[in-house]
Subunit: 90 residues, 2 copies
Amino acid sequence: MTTHYEAMTTYTATVTVRLKQGVLDPEAETTKRALERLGFELESLRSADRFEVEMDAESVAAAEDRADEMAERLLANPTIHDYDVEVTEA
Amino acid sequence: MTTHYEAMTTYTATVTVRLKQGVLDPEAETTKRALERLGFELESLRSADRFEVEMDAESVAAAEDRADEMAERLLANPTIHDYDVEVTEA
C-alpha cells in the first residue's frame, strides 16, 4: 500500500482591495489635501489595502483560487470594492 | 527672447507602506484569525497601505523623488513603517 502526498509549495498571494470608481473616499481626499498643504502638486490620490498572504498550496492556480475566495468572503466587500490577486512563489 | 517650458508627463507613483518587521499588527492578526475561522489555511498575513498618486513631472526620476518625499513627510511614519515607491507612466 502506498500513500501519495501532494507536493506543497509556499506561495505569497497579494490581494489589493480598492474602492470602486465612483465610491467616495474621504480618507484619500484628506490625505491629498494634506499633501497639497505641504506644498506638493498632485493630480489625484487613490488609496488601497494590500494583504500579503503566505500559504502552502499544490500549484499557483490553487493558491490563486484560495486567495480569490478569501477576497470574496472576507477581504473585499463586493458592493464597494474591486480587488486583484497576484501570486508568486515565496 | 525665448521662454523655455519643460515638457511634463503624467506619472502614477505607487507608495506601499508596511509596518516594520517586529512591529505588532493586531489588525492583520485579527484578519488572519477570521480567515482561519472560515476554514482557510494560511501561514501568515501582512497588511499594507497602498497610495496611488497621479502627478505631472519632468521625468521618472523627478516623480520618484517627489513620491519619496511624500512618503517621508506624510504617508509613512519612519519609526514604525518601511515603504517603497514604484513609478510608471500613467
